[in-house]
Symmetry: C2
Subunit: 420 residues, 2 copies
């Protein structure tokens, strides 16, 4: 055996499967009393965040949930969503966050297809969930999230979330994942035709993309992150874990409503947030009287199509700094970031805005991204004009589509993920 | 097979072995003309840095060097050292950086023990190298680094570095590492008794520790990093790769001499540097006339014992901000960072300085660090008073000691690296 391989095997001391859950364990160890989560009047420290997540994991384990079992959640941006993003993967189970805007038929399809054994559901969505449950034969364990910050809806389940986790032990259940390639979560893409496809994420990819977000957005332990992006979108673009990795503070928000956003920014000293262009549009065009002023600059990351330059200008005038990310559900959300080039300040606003949307630089945690001619697989200029398809390769690409080998194979043809 | 495993195998699209060389490939792709390296009058862009590193790799390959072969380097902090840190691992070969302060007998031991097939050696060190080569039977290919910023010494080798790499192709040699657990580099600890031990680093660990450094020190593409830390120390604490991961600029420096340090800081707009406490001491106590003033704050990371509070105060008065890291050769350099606690400003300077040295928080890319009683392996308070040993576990711990299974086993007893 070559000298650099002999008797130099992996050991518990020098090898640990990568998992985004490790960030919460570390935070609870190194900054136990730092505020991890703010939600209305509720406050949880990192020690409490880990304890509550561990209780969820242990309570699920007591009901027979383990590695490879699917736990679905229909939730708003509340502490329970953040806890589920840690407590479920802690067990090696797979978290399936549902888009709260889906209709009952689609939710029923997803619960069946993903083989959900448990459904955590926020009271606010009881109507559509009740309908969906009536459409399926399987009978998941239903647990209600009864959030004090919400009104309306009904309790549907066997028990409520607080009662359920209170019965679980508070100690971290060690031992998972056994392998960093294990499934972490399941997220369905909302295709325009046919049934949605379920993207399976792995622990390794989420860990790395969280680090990629942390450095791209320069999150640190003084950061305060406002949840204007739904956590069910690509697990909150993996910011569910990135904010914790940075030892920063999560600020929850059930509904993106301009007055609530501006007052949370001012009150909580928010430094970072994410949102689709429509969110920026809504904030930029909000009436002056709801725009509570704030002294800090708020870093906002957006994705998808370029926001109109007028929106970017209005946002910047209101105290935001806009960064444009690009990605898909298949890439854990953000895969590239727009780095402003030196000649941009000289450009007209509309031109600058369109460049912002199309000149992407792949994350350091991703192997590569380029625009290719899908027939020849040759690179073409990434300029938005030349015909081609964005293709992505690296550790922050999903495992594949659940129970859909044909779609997986087509998406990965030639060893690159085809963005379509 | 469980649904979350079936037909969801690793593919070229979604799996890539982690390697710190990927940071240079990405930098050359996304910011090709950005200044990567400054050394005296020499300037290399990221495109040139990758090309020169690739030429080194291809030239070595043409001489039969490949995966698992050892390439030693006796170098100052010059561009060639940075290129070797990329060009050698690109091939899957193992880089063995020699401490330039070692005597000929120890160097001879290391060249023999590490089985070096190639030795890159800076002209300035020709005296001790000539002596060392006379002591060994093996005959490595010797290549001289003939740096224009240096005087003295002789050319010893078959050829010089520039001639050697000019013959290599400029295209990146793909395909390595085949596995992220492969050996990346070899670094000998300078034990006080007996022969030095060779720590073997792996690609996975260096990739992760570089990301850990990048986020801990908040390096970004505007950062300018001055090489006051020798690159032969734990591969420059993995900043050799972290600075590139951040798309920042490396500023080389052959010798740490206060006038040169201050003028480089002012001239190049240096934002970050690292150095042992002795370096801080030297800078703090430099005569006023060599302290070229600069407008920015320079982040300086130090390690080892706590610098005296007077030194920290003097450094801060001169425009530096000091961060205390802790680590060992076995942990790729930095493993923990001191996070100032809220009550510190109220403490006397001496007390603050001693806390800075002993209250460490492990990197987010490391699994754990704690102080344990080595007999019981139970945690004890990390306060510098209670008897115990710092123990470290995670992906940024070395593979083990080369050809020394007993020492490896002892160091990893109980699944933790014992810092001794």
């Amino acid at each position: 055996m070559p000298i650099f391989e002999a008797q130099l095997e992996k050991d518990r001391a020098n090898f640990e499967p990568l998992t985004p859950v490790s960030f919460l364990r570390r935070a609870a160890q190194v900054v136990p009393s730092h505020t991890a989560i703010i939600h209305g009047q509720r406050r949880y420290s990192y020690a409490q965040f880990l304890e509550r997540s561990s209780r969820l994991a242990n309570a699920l384990a007591a009901r027979g949930i383990g590695p490879g079992d699917c736990v679905a959640i229909m939730g708003a941006n509340t502490p329970e969503m953040l806890e589920a993003h840690n407590g479920v993967p802690m067990l090696g189970a797979v978290l399936n966050s549902l888009n709260i805007r889906l209709d009952a038929r689609t939710i029923a399809f997803i619960l069946d297809h993903g083989e959900a054994k448990v459904l955590l559901t926020d009271r606010a969505f009881s109507g559509v969930i009740q309908e969906a449950l009536a459409l399926i034969e399987r009978e998941p364990l239903v647990i209600d999230i009864d959030d004090s910050e919400s009104q309306g809806g009904e309790l549907l389940g066997e028990t409520d979330y607080e009662t359920f986790i209170a019965a679980g032990a508070g100690a971290f259940p060690a031992g998972q994942p056994g392998d960093e390639w294990q499934a972490l979560s399941l997220l369905y893409t909302s295709g325009t035709t046919g049934n949605p496809k379920g993207c399976v994420y792995h622990h390794r990819g989420a860990y790395l993309n969280a680090l990629g977000n942390m450095s791209t957005m320069e999150l640190n332990r003084e950061s305060v992150y406002l949840w204007t992006l739904p956590m069910f979108h690509c697990d909150g673009w993996t910011f569910t874990w990135a904010v914790t990795a940075a030892l920063a503070t999560h600020v929850c928000l059930r509904a993106v409503e301009p007055a609530a956003v501006f007052s949370s920014i001012a009150e909580n000293g928010v430094s970072h947030m994410c949102g689709a262009p429509i969110v920026m549009n809504m904030l930029a065009n909000a009436p002056r009287e709801v725009k509570t002023p704030f002294p800090q600059t708020v870093e906002i990351a957006t994705g998808g199509a370029a926001p109109p330059s007028a929106v970017i200008e209005a946002m910047e005038a209101d105290g935001f700094h806009v960064t444009h990310l690009y990605g898909l559900t298949e890439t854990y959300g953000p895969a590239t970031v727009c780095i402003p080039q030196e000649d941009w300040p000289a450009l007209a606003p509309q031109e600058r805005s369109s460049r912002m949307a199309r000149q992407g630089v792949h994350y350091g945690t991703l192997e590569n991204a380029s625009v290719k001619n899908p027939d020849t697989m040759e690179d073409v200029p990434w300029d938005g004009d030349t015909f081609g398809e964005v293709m992505i390769r690296g550790n922050t690409v999903m495992k594949g589509y659940l129970k859909n080998a044909d779609a997986t194979q087509a998406a990965f043809a030639g060893g690159w993920f085809h963005s379509g």
